[in-house]
Symmetry: C2
Subunit: 633 residues, 2 copies
């Protein structure tokens, strides 16, 4: 029944060998993995203008194209660089693997932690943005925004649990719809400007009175640039998810990068151009993108289409996290820095535990921040650019070390990339520390601590368990001496007899053990036992404080010390099993308490002999007995 | 740590043999077991007047003494009768045992269910009444009344869990304080009337216009009588709790009954007399008792003292339930009609599970009715008088059957008691059916159904387990054939080696079993196994749907069918145990899933071989290895 619900929700369970069919081609993989990057285009231009206009007013429109150009150059560097990473590391994991492999493990962990935090933030922020779009349209839903956000997360989780293939079609279309609508906007905008049909909006004034060239300081340019870099978040995702592409997966992933870069380039350059053309000024009532759309199309069908597409793409950005995080964490988990279960494939062969973990994290942030997660936006960039920097640095070191053909050119690309992204990290950290980025500086070290703690545990387990290959052949499986069995019993009944018979087949060394909780309680058992034709001793211990488990464990410990070191004691627990769980609650289920205590003892084996009670059969027997009684009468 | 908290809250754990010291004498037992009965005196006169005055006005004061007299006669009959019950059934359980033993089991269950419902109602109603008194005095607490009621229940639960002896002193004093204050009230009232210092309140008018003798119908008298019987609820409790009295417990309990009857008689007759004297009329602003207190003392210190004592006794009435219910349910449980755990004595030798069950029931009612449980008052009487009737009927049948000396007199007492209480049940049921008593008519049959269902289960278990004594001596413990062991493994490691060594000591008949979830996954294991110098076969089964537990169970089932019927298969699970629970979450704990599935198989023994992982030791070894590596260098 439960299984059927799961299958109904997620689709039929898939066998392991069907994994290759659960991968996506470039056309459907691209929108899923790029929705985060492309959605940030919706606000990147606005972010740049927000920095520039208050300081240099109308001159912003002179500077914007240059800054956009710089962002585009960085985009191209990153694209080339990530394509190089894919070649070097075709199994996904991206920046994490690069940093871990070419720098030091700790840098890999920094990347892993940063990206995990970022992916979780992406879910919370983009779902909240999508919810805000819905509640703006239908105001009476406003009080339920947390609930709505949770429902969207739930739907997205289900979609992703259904498997890679299913989710791509479900979530791919909105991304293409957004890109197409932005491209239409750009084409019509350019056509309009060619017709000379453009009236720039009134020029904004700078708030800075002392307006001069000295105001255009390096710091201002860098801050504007770092804000524009918002357009580059999410570029990592394809690299994390290489194994999700159909074979040849590296080739397909690299092609996807080219298209991603092209889409970001066209939409970002286009919207920047139109922003300059129409002299848009960011204000609280209308986004820059909406202003451009109004200027190009008026408030008609196309305006609303763009608004709807924007709202959807903002929510869809979360899906990039759902595509990237589970793959990333599965790689980290296989390295032993995250719980092992995160690398297990689920019902539909997706990394279902990773998907659920991400949803829980996202939902938790939504609940804590009551759906007002826009304050979390400054937190992104630190993590993203940290991982960019470390990936670039790692690749730089790699080229220096391996020196393949043309390594100077490759090292130069990554070197420049490293420098630029590093500067961006510094700028972002400094400018946004107080507005929230400090949280990241607490969260990331904490995560790294946990990762190292987990690794230490797995190492310890491996250390305790592993047998070196060279020693395998020398192992002689020495037989342990005859085992010693203790059977704890409540009373003498059929179940106990069955246990004794079983024990007899193993060893002659058997003790039956009973605990007396008040004086005279065991008399009846003692008497019954004496009637039984056996030489097995019945040991009775008093426990005036009614601590059955403790008394048993103490006895076993004393037995253990009495025997040879290394000898095993088997505790055989007759345990009766009833069909329905409500019936279980009618019995003192001490077996489970005993098992739990004994598992912490050395040289103990706990054997459970189930004895199924079938009411129906017992009832039948009872009836038979009654009938035969009647016969006798 | 957890244990120390428990000991700090409840006092040191008591050994079983200290049970006789945990009992109470008459002086302290009386107030605990009588607080319910005595508290009902606080409103019994009011209940009678509420029935009479609207119909016959001032004539009520002529009828009241007669009705009070009838109630007192019933009280005396019940007292004599219950003293007889104590002699016949000195182990507690009261009406339940009497009805079960002398009538039929089903009547015992009716009594058991009725009283269980009543005791739960007592807790909810009296705690709510006490809370109402508190919130009337401190109005800003009014919005928190549910929380306050729950806290009082919690404190009362803790007090009772501390053991019989502790709770009596804690809860006994308020009862005596109330009785003393009522007696003072009566004495001063009588003195005042002797001085001729009494002005009756203005005579109330009857609402019935046609005021004549015909209005004083039998039905009216019976209704007034049944309302007055409120004073008799709680009389059962002493009889349920006989074993809680010090030895000689029956003599002490019987003495307690005399004092209970005396206290109820004096307070009830006294307040009835004063009500007639002052012509009190029930109204919503002031209780009859408060009106009498005002008339006698004026609104001075004594007035407030009586009010406070009344509030406390109303809450204390719950304690009678805490004294009566656990003992009653332990008797029912020993008969197999309630979960067995309810007859187990806890930390301080009280029937702690019964106490907790009662608190949960009471708290649930408080929460459901939001602390407005006064509507539940009409629900009491049905249950109380049903159990009175059945107890009387049972005793009547007993005398008829056993015919001891003077049985005619005894049978007459119980016969009259049975008749009167039966009439009362009918009157109460009819007059109060629509105002809530119907709930009781649903709850009691439901409870009886569950009780019979539980008994059926215990019977079935006994049927499946019991070995008749006469057969014990004939039993030959036949040894089963050599056991067959299956060891499911993930990989070949030290833990598995330990398990194999253990298995070898038991049988040569061993299989090692592995599940391959994707193609080629088991190759490494196969290779390692071939290097091991052993003839134990490694069985590998594919499970393309990654259903490890299911595949294992299927294999075992096929093995089971292949072997002789009745042969046991032992599944030996190497299971590693880590020190901290967070570490447990880092592993796929499939062992537990396997155990759970296998417990439902016949002819299976599940053996768990724990393997403790100690991080500290592993770390030390690692360090040693590193150091020796350094040495080699």
């Amino acid at each position: 029944m439960r299984k059927s619900i799961k299958s109904r929700l997620l689709g039929e369970k898939l066998p392991s060998n069907q994994i290759s069919e659960e991968k996506f081609n470039v056309f459907w993989g691209l929108p899923v993995l790029s929705s985060d990057a492309i959605s940030s285009v919706a606000y990147a231009v606005e972010e740049i203008l927000l920095v520039l206009i208050p300081v240099i007013g109308i001159m912003s429109y002179l500077l914007l194209p240059k800054i956009a150009g710089a962002v585009i150059i960085l985009l191209i560097i990153l694209t080339i660089s990530y394509r190089q990473i894919i070649d070097a590391y075709p199994n996904g994991g991206g920046a994490y693997i690069v940093a871990k492999d070419n720098l030091q493990t700790i840098f890999g962990l920094i990347v892993g932690a940063s990206l995990s935090v970022d992916y979780t933030l992406t879910v919370a922020v983009s779902i909240s943005a999508g919810t805000a779009a819905i509640t703006s349209a239908i105001p009476f839903l406003h009080t339920h925004k947390v609930a709505i956000a949770i429902i969207i997360i739930l739907l997205m989780t289900l979609g992703n649990l259904r498997g890679v293939k299913e989710s791509t079609k479900l979530f791919g279309i909105p991304t293409y719809a957004f890109v197409v609508s932005i491209i239409l906007l750009i084409i019509f905008g350019v056509l309009k400007s060619l017709k000379g049909d453009v009236t720039p909006l009134p020029a904004p004034a700078a708030s800075s009175v002392d307006l001069g060239t000295q105001a255009i300081s390096l710091f201002l340019i860098l801050r504007a640039f770092s804000s524009g870099c918002a357009a580059l978040t999410g570029v990592e995702a394809i690299c994390d998810a290489v194994p999700n592409f159909r074979e040849p997966s590296t080739k397909n992933a690299k092609t996807a990068y080219v298209f991603l870069a092209l889409m970001v380039l066209i939409t970002f350059v286009g919207t920047s151009y139109l922003a300059v053309l129409f002299h848009t000024v960011p204000n609280e009532d209308m986004t820059v993108l909406a202003q451009i759309a109004t200027a190009v199309f008026g408030k008609g069908f196309m305006f609303y289409a763009i608004q709807v597409a924007t709202a959807i793409i903002l929510a869809m950005a979360a899906n990039t996290a759902f595509a990237g995080f589970p793959t990333l964490i599965s790689v980290i988990s296989r390295d032993g820095y995250a719980p092992r279960q995160l690398s297990a494939r689920g019902h539909r062969l997706s990394y279902s535990n990773g998907i659920v973990l991400l949803s829980l994290g996202g939902a938790l942030l939504v609940i804590i921040f009551k759906g007002e997660t826009h304050k979390l936006i400054p937190l992104y960039a630190v993590g993203v650019f940290t991982s960019f920097t470390l990936a670039q640095a790692g690749m730089f070191m790699r080229w220096i070390r391996l020196k393949p053909q043309g390594w100077q050119y490759k090292a130069a690309i990554n070197g420049i990339g490293c420098l630029v992204t590093f500067v961006t990290v510094i700028i972002v950290s400094v400018t946004k520390f107080l507005s929230g980025a400090w949280i990241v500086f607490i969260a990331i070290p904490l995560l790294i601590y946990f990762m190292k703690r987990i690794k230490r545990h797995y190492n310890a387990v491996a250390q305790e368990l592993d047998i070196p290959k060279e020693k395998l052949e020398q192992i002689v499986i020495r037989q342990k001496p005859t085992p010693h069995i203790i059977i704890p019993i409540d009373s003498l009944n059929k179940m106990v007899l069955k246990a004794i018979k079983y024990a007899k087949s193993i060893t002659p060394n058997i003790e039956v053990f009973h605990i007396e909780t008040y004086e005279g309680e065991a008399d009846k058992l003692r008497k019954k036992w004496s009637m039984l034709n056996t030489d097995i001793p019945l040991i009775i211990k008093e426990s005036p404080f009614r601590e059955t488990v403790k008394t048993l464990v103490e006895y076993i410990e004393s037995e253990e010390h009495a025997s040879q070191p290394g000898d095993m004691i088997t505790v055989l627990l007759p345990h009766f099993v009833v069909k329905k769980s409500w019936q279980m609650s009618l019995h003192n289920n001490t077996s489970f308490l005993i098992i739990n205590s004994l598992l912490h003892e050395r040289n103990i084996v706990v054997s459970i002999m189930p004895f199924q009670i079938e009411e129906a059969r017992a009832m039948r027997q009872q009836t038979t007995v009654k009938q035969s009684d009647q016969h006798r009468e």
